[in-house]
Symmetry: C2
Subunit: 185 residues, 2 copies
């Protein structure tokens, strides 16, 4: 395994979180990009999706990720926005395919368990752990941006078992090892 | 009002119905294109969406519609496929915007009421009425293709009141007038 560049997308029409991380075989991770694409709530739905698509495309073209991770949307979630979220996720997945990339969806619980060790973790816990893993000075905000980074980290972390670690761990490796242990409890 | 070319899309991953009609100011309508784009159920979701997108793009580029009508998806519908349907609808709406076209969604009840005069009409009734309006020798099949044509006709029909009719009606005008009267009951 070599360093993997993952684009994580937390789909949404009003705010679509986008995060790119490089994850090394030793599981240390570097922040490459984080942001949120917004679209006006009073714009027609087709224009809103085009705005979201333009934002995702810009990141694909600037940062050339190896793979795309998108949050899985469920019909049971918040009824008033779930259809727009699903439509945005369809756009994100389409753009991955059109850039020749594989995409994978992860559920919110899978992401929370991978990052914090607890599938019901709250947004603050996810933000805190993402900041620690990526050695950020501040919590990534808004929560959609943190969720996108968490998705990207989760994707890289789930691709296979950690290599056998030798010698003292770096802080990033310790964060990964801790998260992994917690998630397996 | 001049003749309007409408692309109707009944979104779906396994079968996405696509229909194009020309609707004249006197409400007579001509079939321009009808078809279904299919994607393999065992393909990854991002590839399936790319297949659907390619099919829609081909029709946009060949037939140059003036506007796009997409069936509105509700979370309450069939749970197992509703997310894929919503994702496909997001792709359809995005493609409309990226071709500079406005898009509008219509609910299944709105379409059925516009076409058959009855919001709870069954698929057979919709197919029969679509065939009559477009003077087709056979019922458009599969139902997804008929639904796409019905969506396109519904969209054109809803854009404004019928002009005052003078002289005897053509069969197509009669079909429209009947459908309109029924829908207003």
């Amino acid at each position: 395994m070599s360093t993997l560049r993952v684009l994580g997308i937390d789909p949404g029409l009003t705010r679509c979180g986008i995060g790119v991380v490089d994850v090394a075989p030793d599981r240390s991770a570097e922040l490459v990009h984080v942001g949120v694409v917004r679209s006006a709530t009073d714009a027609p739905i087709e224009r809103r999706l085009a705005t979201i698509a333009a934002g995702i495309r810009a990141v694909l073209q600037e940062h050339h990720p190896d793979v795309v991770a998108v949050e899985r949307v469920f019909a049971q979630q918040n009824r008033s926005t779930v259809m727009g979220t699903a439509q945005a996720s369809g756009v994100a997945l389409l753009l991955a395919a059109e850039h020749g990339l594989a995409a994978q969806t992860h559920t919110p619980s899978e992401v929370k368990a991978a990052i914090t060790g607890y599938g019901n973790a709250d947004k603050r816990q996810v933000q805190t752990m993402v900041a620690r893993i990526l050695r950020l000075d501040a919590l990534p905000k808004p929560a959609d941006a943190a969720d996108a980074l968490a998705l990207a980290l989760c994707h890289a972390w789930r691709r296979g078992p950690a290599p056998v670690e030798k010698g003292p761990l770096t802080p990033a490796q310790r964060a990964w090892a801790d998260a992994e242990r917690l998630a397996r409890r």
